[in-house]
Symmetry: C2
Subunit: 337 residues, 2 copies
């Protein structure tokens, strides 16, 4: 069987049925192996992963999918550890995944450093997985989306997807979750730290984190300011939800119950008005088309004739010798479109 | 020559050299014909348009490219008329273009109704052109981008690109201009009218318009509120520019000189720090790639095998019978990628 499967190191002994049994039995070792399979770039692994995922699909969809973002220093690891432990205490099974396009095998993502979530990691009801490494953001996002499905099939009813706040990773995460929580900090003056351009639009909830000790008053002030600003700038969305602002402390746990209650409110509202179903359906089709786009783009870039002329075309465009339209037609022409 | 050219109705008598001469001589009839050529979807016209544009490229790049957005009712036409006339009085030559993906030959865009800008339209130093009609936003955007180049070659040193605030048209316009002005209105309570989700991120300047008569005080109050909100939520961008908030009245002309001065400040800052050059270069390459993407997407959708199976694939994905990854691979496979 080893030879026939020819799979990934450490997973080669397992057939699809073995994997399925492991997932159904909520075996965390099997879960890790399946996610490793899903993350593999080998074409035989990918074929096996897709077959497995297709068989897991009926078991998926049951979790609250929650994105958590915030720049380094905002206290994400402590927040997730404390938040996750509370959820476990309340009877939930919690998976923590991550999207960090900057992570690599050598550096590891913030979640790679598991010692930062030691207590959470040691619970039987949690599964913590660092970001898939290497590749494009699109590749990392695909793997994390599929890992969400695997975790759901394995009975995790809360999936936290962390993003480190680099590049477009927040947008990618917002596209795979039901609810997006942005952690921020009070900064100097009125400016809030950790709110990048474009991110605010994604947030269903913003929490001013590290609201403890000396920082408490400043955090409450920032919360009120931000709430007022949001009321002006971000009225109710198409989904009927009005974004909220709270304070929290991963250290003391203050505010975490409120956050879970707000996530519950959001879930109840969007379930009742149909927006959650629409959001998930849209995400599925967007996911499909983003993979098509990415596949097409890399096929174009790797096409020998394009690869040969692309640098010259880009230069011609930048230096005003060719219109972008003509350059695009040239590229599409190489590709016989 | 008529037969050989086989061009567009009304333009068929002109060779590329005729067009070039007309543009160089700032003949507004020739300018209109060239833009009609650029807007044509006929493949022979498109080939001629690209040849012409390539020869015009050395003459382009000299205008302030300014996007002006705001939902219907915000007073855009009156604003543009008054603003444009002031610029003409100050010695500028002003072109007004529009991106309105909802416009059609029968309906016409807001600029199609030229009577709304009668005085501006009658000046010798202005050129007003309604939105290209029909087709996708991508197609409309390409035509408007090329029209900007033609206007620059014809010596217009200010190009105002209007968008009606529908769909993704603001994003498309922001991608083709140096400066993006959003017009807004005071609404009930603290909420501002006409600030759609995602649009705020694009604006270099927001003006609370119709700040005249009874509305003056409310507009000034809204301006102060919005300025405060922006200071919290949208700090300085990568380009070094901090977005501003002012009030204006297209009717009385109040605030319009300030707006032009702010546009000048922005231009001076971004020219000095290199951000304007980078912005334009990035726009050129993004434009090229967006055309490539669009060409690829329509080639995929029009591929017979994809066209036949797409609805089923989408259903399979939506109903949980197939993963988006497997569906994307199926589509790419039909397309032999």
């Amino acid at each position: 069987m080893i030879e026939e499967n020819g799979g990934l190191m450490g997973t080669r002994h397992l057939s699809i049925d073995d994997y399925l049994r492991g997932i159904r039995e909520r075996d965390s070792a099997a879960l890790g192996q399946v996610i490793t399979l899903v993350e593999s770039n080998r074409s035989d692994d990918r074929a096996q992963a897709q077959e497995l995922l297709t068989r897991l699909l009926p078991l998926t969809g049951g979790a609250r999918r929650i994105g958590i973002s915030g720049v380094p220093g905002v206290g994400k690891s402590t927040f997730i550890e404390t938040f996750g432990l509370r959820l476990v205490d309340a009877g939930h099974r919690v998976a923590v995944l991550a999207v960090d396009p900057s992570s690599s095998v050598s550096k590891g993502s913030i979640l790679g450093d598991k010692t930062r979530m030691e207590e959470l990691a040691s619970s039987d009801d949690t599964f913590i997985r660092p970001s898939p490494t290497g590749g494009s953001l699109g590749g990392v996002a695909r793997k994390t989306r599929e890992a969400i499905l695997v975790c759901e099939a394995a009975g995790y009813d809360v999936v936290l997807v962390e993003t480190v706040g680099v590049g477009q990773s927040e947008t990618a995460v917002a596209e795979m979750v039901d609810f997006f929580l942005l952690l921020s900090l009070t900064g100097a003056g009125d400016e809030l730290q950790g709110i990048k351009r474009g991110i605010l639009e994604l947030a269903d909830l913003i929490s001013i984190n590290k609201a403890d000790g000396d920082r408490l008053q400043a955090a409450e002030h920032a919360r009120a300011e931000l709430e007022r600003a949001l009321a002006i700038l971000r009225p109710k969305g198409d989904d009927g939800w009005t974004p909220r602002v709270v304070t929290s402390s991963g250290l003391t746990g203050d505010g975490l119950d409120d956050i879970w209650a707000i996530i519950g409110e959001h879930h109840a509202l969007l379930s009742a008005n149909g927006a959650l179903e629409r959001r998930r359906q849209r995400q599925l089709l967007d996911w499909m088309w983003s993979l098509v786009d990415e596949g097409l783009r890399s096929a174009v870039r790797e096409h020998p004739q394009v690869a040969e002329t692309l640098a010259d075309l880009e230069n011609d465009v930048l230096e005003g010798r060719m219109t972008p339209t003509a350059a695009a037609e040239n590229i599409l022409g190489s590709f016989r479109i």
